[in-house]
């Protein structure tokens, strides 16, 4: 479990990092928290010539408010997200999802940006960011651009971030006062989601006025269950079963050791009902 040899660079600004990236090109890999990249290097599934560590760029860290949005720096760790009142108050479903990731050690290393760019369909950050209508801020030689979460995830392990670009932040519209739940289905505690459902709802007097549902590992990218979201408006706790059962309809989830596609579609329905019920409180 020893990675192949590589050069190591630790820039202190985004500009510097972009310059190194431009110079090194395809042969470079950006290092966030390393919780996905290091296993890949150690198992020699990839052997970049240069590793660019973003850990010294303070500008990429931290959680702040910008009007109606929360801005979470790409290098903000899961532990920082979990400790943040801003996230809890305005993006509760993200808090709940991040709380399910791995173990404390990994949560003190792994970053929101790394998780989003890594774009593992079983990762737990994508679905809540998608459900919350997040926007991803990407920096390149030509400056910054913003991409909606719906357009950001392109395929398995593939995002809108180009080889010569960096993800610098994620902007999340505030969902203040929304109820939220993240139902993660696993066989052992330390496991990636077999299926998970991120649900966040706004309700008045037990009636849902708005609902957002993100699905984890139900396709090659995180998905929104928009038909279910629409059907939930105006409904209450007693109506969930029939509406939520179809959350997995039309999806094309993977088949693997933990379950085949049919089973995952079934789980998506059950977990959506449970998540929405829990979010309603």
């Amino acid at each position: 479990m020893i990675p192949a040899a590589f050069d190591y660079v630790a820039p202190t600004s985004v500009q510097e990092a972009l310059a190194v990236l431009a110079q090194a090109g395809d042969d470079a890999k950006v290092l966030g928290g390393g919780q996905s990249l290091l296993p890949i290097l150690r198992m020699r599934l990839n052997a970049p010539e240069t590793v660019i560590d973003l850990g010294r760029i303070d500008a990429l860290r931290g959680i702040s408010e910008d009007g109606d949005a929360l801005v979470i720096g790409a290098m903000t760790t899961y532990a920082e997200v979990l400790a943040s009142d801003l996230v809890r108050d305005h993006a509760l479903v993200l808090h709940k999802a991040v709380a399910t990731i791995a173990d404390p050690q990994i949560r003190h290393r792994g970053t929101v940006g790394g998780a989003l760019v890594h774009a593992d369909p079983a990762g737990d950050v994508g679905a809540p960011v998608l459900a919350l209508g997040g926007e991803l801020v990407i920096a390149g030689s030509g400056g910054e651009r913003r991409v909606a979460a719906a357009d950001f995830f392109e395929d398995l392990f593939t995002t809108a971030v180009g080889d010569d670009e960096l993800l610098v932040a994620v902007r999340i519209p505030k969902h203040t006062g929304w109820g939220a739940a993240y139902e993660k289905f696993v066989r052992v505690a330390q496991q990636w989601s077999i299926v998970a459902v991120a649900a966040t709802v706004r309700a008045e007097g037990g009636t849902i006025t708005q609902a957002r549902i993100g699905l984890t590992n139900m396709g090659s990218t995180p998905l929104r269950a928009t038909a279910v979201e629409d059907a939930l408006v105006g409904k209450g706790a007693g109506d969930l079963a029939a509406i939520c059962a179809s959350a997995g309809a039309g999806t094309n989830p993977p088949s693997d050791l933990n379950g085949d596609a049919d089973y995952r579609r079934h789980l998506a329905g059950v977990l959506t009902r449970r998540a929405v019920a829990a979010a309603l409180g």
């Binding site: 479990m1 192949a4 089973y263 789980l267």
Partner: protein, 805 residues
């Protein structure tokens, strides 16, 4: 003396913290990989990615030229051979046994087999260069599954002409230990109950914490090998036997070893290769495996198909049991690989009074990683089958699973009891353990809750699983092993040295790798010789220090190894008495022994055993005609096995919407005879339980159709962590063993043997009203959910989904 007064009255039975734990837990100790020697070189193995292939060429030139590479070797570089990974237990004289060489040059028979080794100045450089070795493989068809192998259509070793390695039978009518099983089955078919089932023991991987590692130092007069093994003595013998090296020129040391679970009961290709490279280069050499290598190339466990026929009368009295196994050995027959399934022969009948019994075992070769002992080795497989069957019988008769067991088990007043398989069970009390377990579990209350949840149609159903197991431990009476063509004896050796300063060195031939022998042996010796616990040092795992021994496996160390320690201690007392009498100017007959001192009866004159030790060190004044020394050693060969037992009760909550099962409570009452250290026993039981539960719920080693191990990392080989377990309730009842002085039985494997069927029985119990009779292990949520779906789509009582039939 005041310190002594604070001591427990006896060390035996005291919850001593383990003296080895600080160094083991902090890792500041001699793990093999921590050893660094001057000029040491590092090895990386080049392994086959294919399950079965001919090697048509190996180009090592690029690797040889890589930075800091010292050498690259293939099998061709060792025309004299590198030794043999020997099979020490051919189960029949006709057994088909393919040669198992450490490195192959012409054909690989499983993925992970070693075809070349790269030697470099650092492990990183060796690994870099290993990627440059270019091996041309021509793939051959591979056979992976044991049932496929039985067809002999694709051959794991074409030159052998068959995949069938050996057939082994025990028949109670032929052996004279019971009736004819076919007659019992015919009678049950005509007018009784016949339970016919097929179960699958999936393949497991013994995931010890410390990966295997070997360091060999060829400088000096003897070659020294440090290796992460359970069996330093057996390894040394087999190195000598298969390489032609003089046994006296080989010293094997198992320093601290981080777990084994049977997985380090092996002589490995990596050990032979590291030895050969070190000797060839004349330099110390180290090889440490990666976790991926460990999962693929350390031996695997279980992997059996079981066909079972249980005959009973209509009231549920058992009349016969027939067992037909097909056991997958993998590509080669590992050290005791063929024998592990055969150990089940004496265990399928378990605690029940079967009048007729037949055990059949067919072993087969496949193009998969070799299979050998894994915690329990043969007994978990047997216990699973019989405990699942007893539940099926209870369901058929329509009574509680405990009722059917009680009806058929050996009563406590029937011990010693000779089983239908011909084994004599030393002692036990199934009634007492069961009564206590029921009480701790709240059995009746949980049954009432189960009924309520069934009646209300709760989507989360409650199931209660029972396992009343026994096992045979204390490997093993040497004559019995001889009668089974096992390649060694089963005795154990110990010696005790009384040092002049009053300290005591205990040398044991057992080779602990996490079990806590240093603590337990110290407690035993402290009591026996009346010396402080802290003054006892336990030495082990070095063939030059513990020159004689047969190592640690099969729950043998306490019942066999510690008995040797006890006997050595008793010899010391006998010898010391002569000196004490001389020093006290009394007759030996007038001396009383107690609390570490000899007293002259009726006087206050006495001398401590440590004073005697000092006096013999000086030897200025000792009796005529006696050797000046009181050290002693002893070799103990047991007459028979010992038979621990226990009642395990498990409550599982099964979510019928998702198929997820969660453990609600687990109670076990194990009877392991007298207990030396309750804390160590709890540790062994808790760890064992988790491993057995893991077979029921989580672990499964899966190869794809090409023979690639899909579960090749801990992402996919779902090993549980502490977060997946609940707090177990463990207690003990005590039926002292009659096979050894201390009345102890083994406990190392009990939890693993007992828990697997308790869990599966609980899940099936939860779902039986839904028409589910079986779920194949591991009981993944998907399997449970599908079993429910298919039971619902037919009608209750008719599903075989999820099972093998």
């Amino acid at each position: 003396m005041t310190a002594v007064e604070d001591r427990p009255a006896t060390e035996i039975g005291t919850r001593r913290l383990r003296k080895e734990d600080q160094r083991l837990i902090t890792g500041r100790t001699r793990w093999t990989d921590n050893i660094t020697l001057p000029g040491m070189v590092h090895l990386a193995m080049v392994r086959s990615p294919h399950a079965h292939a001919t090697i048509t060429g190996i180009d090592t030139s690029a690797a040889a030229q890589a930075a800091n590479v010292i050498a690259v070797y293939t099998a061709a570089d060792f025309p004299e051979g590198l030794g043999v990974c020997a099979n020490a237990w051919p189960i029949t004289p006709e057994q088909v046994t393919p040669d198992h060489l450490p490195m192959v040059g012409d054909r690989v028979a499983c993925a992970g087999e070693i075809v070349a080794v790269v030697v470099a100045r650092s492990a990183a450089e060796a690994q870099d260069a290993a990627e440059l070795v270019d091996v041309d493989f021509e793939e051959l068809p591979a056979v992976l599954d044991a049932m496929e192998a039985m067809k002999d259509e694709v051959l794991a070793h074409p030159s052998k002409g068959t995949n069938k390695s050996a057939f082994w039978q025990l028949d109670s009518a032929a052996a004279g230990t019971g009736g004819n099983v076919e007659e019992a089955i015919a009678a049950a078919r005509a007018d009784g109950i016949l339970i016919e089932r097929s179960y699958r023991q999936q393949r497991l991987i013994p995931a010890f914490m410390e990966p295997r590692s070997t360091v060999v130092d060829p400088t000096g007069e003897q070659v020294t090998m440090w290796t992460s093994t359970q069996i330093p003595h057996i390894l040394r013998f087999l190195i000598a036997a298969t390489t032609g090296m003089s046994e006296s020129k080989i010293r094997v040391i198992a320093p601290d070893v981080g777990g084994g679970f049977g997985g380090k009961l092996q002589t490995t290709p990596e050990e032979f290769i590291t030895l050969a490279v070190a000797r060839r280069l004349g330099k110390p050499a180290k090889y440490t495996e990666t976790r991926s290598e460990s999962l693929l190339s350390g031996h695997h466990g279980r992997d059996q198909y079981q066909k079972l026929t249980l005959a009973a009368t209509k009231d549920g009295t058992v009349t016969g049991l027939k067992v037909e196994l097909v056991a997958n050995l993998g590509a080669y027959i590992a050290i005791v690989g063929g024998g592990v399934p055969v150990l089940g022969a004496w265990m399928f009948n378990a605690i029940y009074k079967f009048p007729a019994y037949q055990f059949n075992c067919q072993t087969v070769l496949t193009n998969t990683t070799w299979v050998d002992a894994y915690r329990g080795a043969g007994r978990p497989e047997a216990t699973y089958a019989i405990e699942r069957l007893m539940d099926e019988l209870a369901a058929e008769v329509g009574v509680d699973p405990l009722t059917i067991r009680e009806k058929n088990w050996i009563r406590h007043d029937e011990f010693p009891f000779t089983s239908v398989a011909g084994m004599t069970y030393d002692s036990g009390n199934y009634e007492a353990a069961t009564a206590r377990a029921k009480e701790l579990f709240g059995y009746d209350e949980l049954r009432a809750e189960q009924a309520r949840r069934r009646a209300s149609g709760d989507p989360v159903q409650l199931g209660i699983g029972v396992s009343t197991f026994t096992e045979m431990c204390g490997l093993a009476p040497s004559r019995v092993l001889g009668s089974l063509s096992y390649g060694a004896g089963g005795w154990e050796h110990a010696s005790i040295r009384m040092l002049p300063t009053g300290k005591v060195e205990v040398v044991t031939g057992t080779s602990p790798h996490g079990q806590g022998h240093e603590t337990a042996w110290s407690q035993i010796v402290a009591d026996r010789l009346g010396v402080p616990f802290e003054d006892v040092e336990v030495l082990h795992g070095d063939t030059q220090i513990a020159y004689k021994g047969l190592d640690t496996y099969g729950s043998r160390s306490l019942v066999v190894g510690a008995e040797a320690v006890v006997r050595a201690a008793d010899k010391i007392i006998d010898k010391a008495k002569v000196f004490a009498a001389h020093l006290l100017e009394a007759s030996a007959d007038d001396l009383e022994w107690g609390a570490g001192r000899f007293h002259v009866k009726g006087t206050d004159k006495g001398v401590g055993i440590t004073e005697v030790a000092l006096a013999t060190f000086a030897s200025h004044n000792y009796p005529e005609g006696v050797e000046p020394g009181i050290d002693a050693d002893a070799t103990f060969d047991p007459d028979t096995f010992s038979f621990p037992h226990g009642t395990h009760l498990c409550a599982m909550e099964v979510d019928t919407e998702t198929g997820q099962s969660r453990m609600r409570s687990y109670v076990c009452v194990d009877d392991i005879g007298h207990i030396i250290n309750p804390l160590i026993v709890e540790g062994q039981v808790h760890g064992g339980l988790v491993q057995g539960i893991a077979q029921a719920l989580w672990e499964d080693a899966i190869f794809d159709d090409n023979g690639t191990l899909v579960t090749g990392s801990f992402v996919d080989y779902t090993l549980p962590s502490a977060a997946d377990t609940i707090s177990f309730v463990t207690e003990n009842t005590t039926s002292p063993s009659t096979t050894n002085t201390l009345g102890t039985k083994g406990v190392g494997e009990a939890g693993t043997i007992a828990s697997t069927p308790a869990v599966v029985n609980a899940i099936v119990d939860a779902l039986r009203p839904h028409g589910v009779h079986d779920i194949q292990m591991p009981c993944t949520p998907q399997r449970v959910w599908r079993a429910l779906q298919s039971a619902r789509s037919t009608h209750p009582g008719s599903t075989d989904e999820g099972s093998l039939q």
